[in-house]
């Protein structure tokens, strides 16, 4: 098994008729994902290379039985798109869009948590169960079905980690890009729970970065509840305080959220921390050998 998505997952794309929506819907379908439809208000009846377009998520769910969505709508409409998916009963919502106002996410977060749906993102690459289902913008071919659960706040750095675990023939169970914003739908802890219970996942690789305290909270959780080997990497050891490093959430403010603090918390929880981004795969091997 894997977590969250598998070969049975039926996916729609909100914003499918936009440039990015079209490109990545077809990319996911090419990978083998069951892309059953798309939503763009006012464009029902059209299709995107054979994928039917609906006016509302409700219509798409009724017609196709979709249970997952990937959202590419522009930032001003992203919060609303997430709420629409939630209302229609979609269980896995991946919001790829970057640039969503943070106050919008305060409202959305509360509603998502009160439901049994899972929101990944926003500002994330999506998630993938190699060989089964890809929902997002990651290059599929670098992945390999296998045993490492990979979770990350970053996009391309995740590709680097995936590449390393594939090269070491470990492969991945499910890879999840949590997103680079201050408020995202899913935390490391949410995923740690799922990976811990998942048979396919034998080790967990957690990729963090400066800002906030999500990594410290995850470290505390690992110490108490996770028996599987865990490895980690933290980006931003050289980042100066007070400067936003690309991601809206990657900032050291008031002396908090430094890489040093995070590494310390992870190591004290028995997690193997890779000293450089070139050592993420090796850190997983080391954690599994412990």
């Amino acid at each position: 098994m894997s977590i969250l998505i598998n070969s049975d997952t039926k996916v729609i794309c909100q914003g499918i008729t936009g440039k990015a929506g079209t490109f990545h819907s077809l990319g996911c379908r090419d990978y083998g994902t069951k892309m059953v439809g798309g939503v763009t208000p006012g464009k029902a009846g059209q299709d995107v290379d054979g994928i039917p377009v609906f006016d509302t998520v409700e219509d798409a769910v009724n017609e196709t039985g979709a249970n997952a969505t990937m959202i590419f709508v522009p930032p001003p409409f992203t919060a609303d798109a997430i709420l629409e998916a939630l209302d229609a009963g979609i269980k896995v919502i991946a919001a790829i869009t970057e640039g969503v106002p943070v106050i919008d996410m305060v409202r959305v977060y509360e509603k998502v948590r009160a439901s049994d749906a899972v929101l990944i993102g926003p500002n994330c690459p999506g998630l993938i169960t190699p060989g089964e289902c890809k929902i997002g913008i990651m290059p599929g071919y670098i992945h390999q079905p296998g045993k490492v659960g990979v979770m990350s706040r970053s996009g391309t750095l995740t590709y680097e980690a995936v590449w390393q675990t594939s090269s070491l023939k470990l492969g991945q169970s499910t890879c999840v890009g949590l997103g680079g914003d201050p408020i995202v739908g899913t935390s490391y802890i949410d995923l740690l729970k799922l990976y811990q219970e998942d048979d396919q996942t034998e080790a967990i690789l957690m990729i963090g970065e400066i800002g906030g305290s999500a990594e410290e909270e995850a470290a505390a959780y690992v110490k108490e509840h996770v028996t599987k080997p865990v490895a980690a990497f933290i980006a931003g050891r050289t980042a100066p305080p007070g400067k936003r490093m690309g991601h809206a959430g990657a900032i050291i403010s008031g002396g908090k959220g430094t890489a040093t603090e995070k590494v310390k918390a992870l190591e004290s929880a028995g997690i193997v921390v890779a000293p450089t981004p070139a050592d993420m795969g090796k850190a997983v091997v080391e954690a599994m050998g412990k």
């Binding site: 990015a20 930032p75 001003p76 640039g99 969503v100 106002p101 943070v102 106050i103 919008d104 305060v106 409202r107 977060y109 509360e110 690459p125 913008i137 990651m138 290059p139 670098i142 990350s152 706040r153 970053s154 996009g155 391309t156 750095l157 995740t158 590709y159 680097e160 590449w163 680079g180 201050p182 408020i183 990729i207 970065e209 400066i210 906030g212 305290s213 999500a214 909270e217 990497f233 980006a235 931003g236 050289t238 980042a239 100066p240 007070g242 400067k243 936003r244 490093m245 690309g246 991601h247 809206a248 959430g249 990657a250 008031g254 002396g255 890489a259 000293p275 450089t276 981004p277 070139a278």
Partner: protein, 395 residues
């Protein structure tokens, strides 16, 4: 986006958050006139820069000149403005090079009974905005949090409901505010929380927040940062942006849709993705080098953007070598290769260039570079790339 204190106070006034009368001055003479207009008793001349710690900060080469000056005559106001305008002010937040003072804010004085602290930020843990107040007004709040955290009081609030009356009562009790001052707080605190939400602030800080001799609550400072992602909802704030307060190369990068932060080192970095860009800086440092910048060209960068990225990197005179680290996902290695070749023609590389390509269309991209006449040191992986650029720059 950051704004100046006087701009923040203009917005406060509109939002019903009490502030004192004040006038912006760009010359010493304007400052003297402002003093007279404000009633000619006590006024404070405050340098306007996008950094905190102005009161304790001093002007370069003139350690007696502080960034905030209490004045009792028009001549004193003129002298204070003279000592600040056009000068570089160094505070704990500006770095040793300081920031130029282009304008001062001349503000009426008031009768201060107590100085408090008030700040609103997003609590990333609780996923809600949080109002923080403290009895230790005028102090650096980071210091208070470090030394006497029990003197900071917090209340989370729902952005769509605002601060509830009982929450104000709780905070007043802890701050020791009673009577007419508590009544003032019952208007002031909810108004600030509304302000934070209405303007999509990232941070709103008033330090000090003052209780006057006649039990009024007044914002003596205004430090505000807006959520850049929400600026589209507030077109009226565009005029408040002060480009002279921003690093020119960072402004240029933003205009080109790139994410760039200038640093002190000598190895320029061009990377796709924020996490990978940060890690690239880290691994350069790990192998003994110093990164000159953070630069994320993003997932969908085109040839033109990447060329502009090279221009920005190479315009930094400190840069003695450039490392290109690309893990193609959405961004294709061929696009980057084409941009490297184009940039070598239009911009010209006079410093060593190390390129590491991986991911989408990597073979084609590597072939393009190999067949071009650009002088490139190729690297097989991220460690190899870091070691080669550090060696090439002779650190």
């Amino acid at each position: 986006m950051k704004i100046h204190e006087f701009q923040g106070k203009e917005l406060f006034r509109k939002a019903g958050v009490p502030v004192l009368e004040g006038i912006v001055a760009k010359t010493p003479e304007e400052a003297a006139q402002a003093y007279d207009k404000l009633g000619g008793k006590i006024a404070v001349v405050k340098s306007q820069i996008h950094a905190g710690g102005r009161g304790k900060g001093t002007v370069i080469d003139n350690p007696k000149q502080h960034g905030v000056v209490l004045c009792k005559s028009a001549d004193e106001a003129r002298a204070a403005a003279e000592g600040l305008l056009g000068k570089k002010l160094v505070t704990i937040q500006t770095g040793p090079e300081g920031q130029t003072v282009n304008q001062v804010f001349v503000e009426a004085g008031c009768d201060i009974a107590r100085e408090l602290y008030l700040g609103i930020v997003l609590d990333r843990g609780d996923k809600k905005p949080v109002l923080m107040v403290s009895t230790e007004g005028g102090m650096e709040i980071e210091t208070v949090a470090e030394e006497t955290p029990e003197l900071i009081f917090k209340e989370h609030f729902d952005p769509h409901v605002g601060l509830e009356p009982y929450q104000v009562r709780k905070l007043c009790k802890k701050l020791g505010i009673t009577g007419a001052a508590a009544k003032a707080a019952s208007r002031f605190m909810p108004a600030m929380c509304r302000f934070y939400v209405d303007y999509d602030c990232e941070m709103a800080e008033i330090n000090p927040l003052v209780i006057t001799g006649d039990d009024q609550m007044v914002a003596l400072d205004a430090k505000i940062t807006f959520d850049n992602n929400a600026l589209y909802r507030h077109p009226e704030l565009a005029e408040f942006r002060d480009l002279s307060e921003e690093e020119p190369s960072e402004v240029r990068a933003t205009d080109a849709g790139l994410s760039y932060v200038k640093l002190e080192g000598n190895i320029g970095c061009l990377v796709n993705g924020a996490g990978l860009a940060m890690s690239t800086m880290d691994i350069i440092k790990y192998h003994g080098g110093q990164p000159a910048n953070f630069l994320d060209v993003g997932g969908s960068a085109n040839e033109e953007q990447v060329t502009e990225a090279f221009r920005i990197l190479l315009s930094d005179p400190n840069v003695k070598g450039v490392l290109v680290n690309i893990f193609g996902g959405i961004a294709r290695c061929t696009t980057i290769a084409a941009a490297v070749i184009a940039a070598s023609k239009t911009v010209g590389f006079k410093v060593p260039l190390v390129v590491r390509l991986e991911g989408t269309e990597v073979e084609e991209g590597r072939k393009m570079l190999a067949e071009s006449d650009v002088d490139i040191i190729t690297a097989s992986d991220i460690t190899d790339a870091a070691q080669k650029i550090v060696a090439a720059t002779g650190v």
